[in-house]
């Protein structure tokens, strides 16, 4: 989240797209209700009328996977309206704080010219040469700008050209949203473009889990920048995370392409630390750009010092050589493809249940059979731990050795979780765990202690120094406070905890396990454990002394865009920060530099994490285009109405065994998956809880009355959903909340189902992921769980 949960209450308009907060974020809905009580509007855009839709002021349907067409249409509406009614928009924000005025390379071409592609496409490799996606530079090497936004090569004009095709009628034809409702959404949300008004976009997996999911999020970012909604209270683009600590796990590098604090992972060609730092540290020639990532060397060296301690010295590049380098794809689908192919031989499954939650799960369960060993660390015997005795499998044929390690529940251990709003909150242990169950920290400690013993005893072990030189001094039971302090980091010359990342150095005299968390545990104590309920400056619910928020307790990031060039808040009712003549008051500002018009010599642009200092309307960093363009999901019932480029041109397509693709002649119905509030993720925590099972006892599939009539399916009866990859049998829930879409004049049906079920636990049922495909997003590789093709029949 750019903002945080409580801040939603400050919003004037909340657009829930690709998310269903009433269902998946029930506690957060309290903040939404609070905003509504103040008169804010809630818009729900969803293929199906949900519990969120039931509380919304406007419900607008859209076919799964067409968000870019939808938001592209809203962007066009805003751009047209800006011309007609410029005073309704904050044009100062657009020109001064975003890259809308930047001049782009004259060779750049977009989908309007190239039938859905951007310049530089290499069809053989499904990738782009991005050299034309660059800015024109002046003699100092600073991007040229046209502050009138009129130059045909400026980003703003390219944006207009890109979305000129996304008329309400076209958007409606693609998405199935009725034109009138679509326009109501446009008008309502565009009203937040006025200086002083705020709108938030709340998204979740409904947006990300597509082959062009990242571009869907980019479309939200562009819309919010045009409406001056980033950095302000009640604004932002807010990822509603699906678990209490997903934010924390990504901050601390759960994903394969990052190190803690979103430092990039070294790749094969980064042979030395210097080469690595040269590649990953962005540069700017503009003295007004803070270019915060220029500090990368300080953060990287401090990370290496945290990991390798005294073994990290300038002479050995602070242990950089110990780090694994990768140039491969280690995302979920590729890992399971590699297991299926017998390349990966062992798997540790830590608090996750791929035999339920993995895409094309028939293949992923089969892949587990090819492992030599599998360790499942969980509270229950999950479907993954029990895959060898699943229905239809013959245990005698499966040679995988399975270990089930009992973990402890969150209430049975101490530590921190970081919520969607980037708040790190300390939790205490309130009960002893049962039996031999152990906290994850202790499990990994015991494992590592043993591994180090083995490496110690074998002088020929590969990468021996990388294992033995690690700082590993946790004893037999890990103290979470020690770990939290290590994450914060130390001044190694004094032994004191670092006060903030501003003092981290690249000379080996400081350590920090995650620069973003530097300031979370200082000599003043554990900031995450703070419980002061003072609302804080301007009474906008920042709660600055409740827990701790990265970075440096800044509750709303990019908040220097919440003020005008003189430092006065756009929104005087809900200011985030303000310049009082000598300094900033309010939230922790994004850098303490004076406002742009107050001190042009010493100011910096507000988007400090971008090398140029301006927010990206034009985003050349992604692999599949600097502007979002509508493409159909991998499996779609229709042809792309906007161009001859059917799918995102850059996502990876696997073509191994069991990677079947369905076609609309056989599978004409759109299918999607989701969660219900009564169950949790892959289901073990709730399908083993009788009270939850009572509420949602069985797997079900929701479908429209029209489709049910066509197929002779009755409400409460049983049906079968089939895709190219598998079948699900479940109870039919026939409902007026799903309606057939009118897509380009054709009636297209969609069905949907929760994905919580599996074959172990109190409540069992078919897993929705028996149906989903093994393809993922072009940029992140998150699987396309949310849009694929199926057929349904009466069971």
């Amino acid at each position: 989240m750019t903002n945080h949960w409580n801040d939603i209450a400050n919003s004037d308009c909340m657009l829930a797209i690709g998310s269903n907060p009433a269902e998946n974020h029930p506690a957060a809905f309290g903040h939404i209700t609070e905003a509504k009580e103040r008169g804010a509007k809630l818009i729900s855009v969803d293929p199906r009328f949900t519990r969120t839709s039931a509380k919304a002021d406007i419900y607008c349907p859209l076919r799964s996977g067409t968000d870019v067409a939808f938001i592209g249409g809203v962007i066009k509406y805003v751009l047209d309206d800006m011309e007609a009614n410029p005073t309704n928009y904050n044009m100062t924000y657009v020109t001064e704080y975003t890259n809308a005025p930047y001049l782009v390379d004259p060779d750049f071409r977009g989908p309007a010219d190239l039938d859905g592609l951007f310049s530089g496409y290499d069809a053989d490799n499904r990738s782009y040469d991005k050299s034309s996606w660059s800015y024109q530079l002046d003699e100092q090497g600073i991007p040229k700008r046209d502050m009138s936004l009129q130059d045909p090569n400026c980003v703003f004009q390219h944006l207009k050209k890109q979305y000129a095709r996304y008329t309400p009628e076209v958007a409606s034809s693609i998405t199935g949203a009725p034109v009138a409702t679509f326009l109501e959404v446009c008008q309502t949300f565009a009203a937040t473009g006025k200086a002083g008004k705020s709108g938030t976009i709340m998204y979740a997996m409904g947006a990300t889990q597509h082959t062009n999911g990242t571009q869907m999020i980019r479309s939200y970012a562009i819309l919010q920048l045009l409406l001056a909604n980033i950095g302000v209270a009640g604004g932002g683009i807010n990822a509603m995370r699906g678990e209490s600590n997903v934010q924390g796990s990504t901050d601390h590098c759960l994903l394969f392409h990052i190190l803690p604090g979103y430092l990039k992972t070294p790749i094969n060609k980064d042979e030395t630390l210097a080469q690595y730092l040269e590649r990953v540290t962005p540069k700017s020639n503009d003295p007004k750009s803070a270019n915060w990532w220029q500090n990368t060397p300080k953060y990287m060296v401090s990370l290496l010092k945290a990991w390798y301690g005294d073994s990290a010295t300038a002479s050995n590049e602070f242990g950089y050589g110990y780090l694994p380098k990768n140039s491969g794809n280690y995302s979920w689908i590729s890992l399971f493809e590699a297991m299926y192919d017998g390349v990966i031989k062992g798997l540790m499954c830590w608090g996750q249940n791929p035999a339920v939650c993995g895409p094309n799960v028939n293949k992923e369960r089969k892949a587990l059979e090819n492992l030599d060993w599998l360790v499942a660390v969980d509270l229950w015997e999950t479907e993954t731990a029990a895959f060898w005795k699943r229905p239809g499998a013959n245990p005698a044929d499966i040679n995988t050795e399975v270990f089930l390690l009992p973990a402890v529940a969150s209430f049975e251990k101490e530590g921190s979780v970081t919520n969607s709003g980037r708040w790190s909150q300390w939790r205490y242990k309130c009960a002893d765990p049962p039996g031999e169950a152990m906290p994850d920290l202790d499990i990994i400690n015991q494992l590592m202690v043993k591994i180090r013993e083995l490496y110690d005893g074998d002088a020929t072990a590969p990468h021996r120094d990388a294992i033995l030189n690690l700082t590993w001094d946790y004893g037999s039971h890990v103290d979470p406070h020690q770990v939290a302090k290590e994450i914060n980091g130390y001044d190694l010359t004094t032994g004191k905890l670092m006060a903030s990342f501003g003092k981290l150095k690249d000379d080996g005299t400081t350590s920090s396990g995650n620069w973003l968390y530097c300031a979370s545990y200082t000599e003043d104590g554990n900031m995450a454990a703070r419980r002061d309920l003072t609302p804080g400056p301007f009474n906008i619910g920042l709660y600055p002394k409740w827990a701790w928020c990265w970075p440096v307790n800044r509750r709303i990031i990019y908040n220097r865009a919440s003020v005008d060039l003189n430092g006065n808040p756009w929104d005087s009712e809900h200011p985030v920060i303000a310049w009082d003549g000598g300094g900033w008051i309010g939230d922790v500002p994004d850098g303490g530099w004076p406002p742009m018009a107050v001190d042009p010599e010493n100011t910096k642009y507000p988007f400090i994490m971008k090398a140029e200092g301006h927010a990206h309307v034009f985003g050349p960093g992604l692999v599949d285009g600097p502007f979002p363009e509508h493409y159909e999901p991998w499996e779609s019932p229709v042809e792309n109405m906007l161009s001859g480029t059917q799918n995102d041109p850059a996502f990876k397509i696997w073509a191994g065994p069991m990677d079947y693709k369905g076609t609309p002649d056989k599978y004409p119905i759109v299918c999607t998956t989701y969660r219900v509030v009564e169950h949790w993720q892959a289901g073990q925590m709730t399908r083993n809880m009788p009270w939850n099972v009572e509420l949602m006892p069985e797997m079900f599939v929701e479908l429209s009355e029209e489709l049910a009539a066509e197929k002779g399916i009755v409400n409460g009866g049983r049906l079968v959903v089939e895709t190219a990859r598998g079948q699900v049998e479940a109870v039919a829930m026939v409902t007026g909340r799903f309606k057939p879409f009118q897509i380009n004049g054709r009636k297209i049906h969609q069905v949907g189902m929760p994905w919580h079920w599996g074959y172990t636990g109190l409540s069992t049922g078919d897993s929705a992921n028996l149906l989903t495909p093994h393809v993922g997003d072009a940029n992140t590789m998150i699987p396309e769980f949310k849009a694929f093709l199926c057929d349904v029949k009466k069971a």
Partner: protein
């Protein structure tokens, strides 16, 4: 001052946290249910389910209402209870499990279909208003857990004022012309007050509930007459006993919950 619970249907998201919180606090077992083509479950209140959210689909709408005991001033269940097991403890209508004989009169008499007979205990059971919590200064479990703040607990007069204000806003600002407060006057005043976005009948509530004493008694008595006078004798005795118990309790209980 009497306490009450306010359930605002315009804020309820049907997360059903109230259902689980009620079972957890009151240590009620889960029921074995089936997926019947609806989000709603269990199908109705029971001896082990004391609050449940009802889901109603209409074109373009999905209406939610948490259904539970109203704790009426003129409580039909209390009036028909032959053993005096049902009584008011202040604003709370309670079924004394030791005195209940499981005759089922209250089950039939309640205009809201709230008490249900439990097969295992053989008694009628229903929401206790978490009397063990509110008697100790806590709010009922359902109100404590409600994430969107749709269920609130407090002074009855305050809640009614809050409800009336909310209804005005729903009518003027949110396009709910039929919004209304339910429970301020019904049956002598309820202690579960609703903000309803629609007419009561559209949300499964009687528009003009009546105290069931006379009608239920008449029904039973007509059955009794058919069955014969001999059969009626024990019921007459039971009613006599009920009056005695009432008299005893009046002297014992004063003020009720504070």
């Amino acid at each position: 001052m009497p306490k009450a619970r306010l359930i605002d249907t315009s804020k309820c998201t049907a997360c059903r946290g109230c259902q689980v919180a009620c079972k957890q606090w009151n240590e009620l077992p889960a029921e074995e249910t089936k997926q019947l083509g609806t989000y709603e479950n269990p199908p109705h209140l029971s001896g082990n389910t004391w609050i449940k959210v009802e889901f109603r689909e209409r074109p373009g709408e999905w209406l939610f209402r948490a259904h539970t005991c109203m704790h009426c001033v003129d409580a039909s269940c209390e009036k028909v209870c032959p053993t005096g097991a049902i009584s008011h403890q202040g604003e709370v209508v309670l079924i004394d499990q030791k005195q209940c004989i499981g005759c089922g009169y209250c089950v039939l008499a309640c205009p809201y279909n709230v008490p249900h007979r439990d097969e295992i205990t053989g008694t009628a059971r229903k929401c206790t208003f978490c009397i063990d919590r509110i008697g100790n200064g806590l709010e009922p479990a359902c109100a404590k857990t409600c994430p969107p703040g749709a269920i609130k607990f407090g002074e009855r007069a305050d809640l009614i004022a809050m409800a009336e204000q909310r209804v005005q806003t729903l009518i003027s600002d949110y396009g709910y012309p039929n919004a209304n407060v339910y429970g301020a006057d019904e049956l002598g005043g309820l202690h579960t007050i609703y903000v309803l976005t629609e007419r009561p009948s559209a949300l499964g509530l009687p528009e003009t509930p009546e105290v069931a004493t006379s009608t239920v008694l008449a029904q039973w008595l007509s059955g009794v007459v058919t069955a014969g006078v001999l059969a009626a004798l024990p019921f007459w005795l039971l009613f006599k006993r009920k009056k005695q118990i009432e008299a005893e309790q009046k002297s014992k209980v004063e003020g009720g919950v504070r």
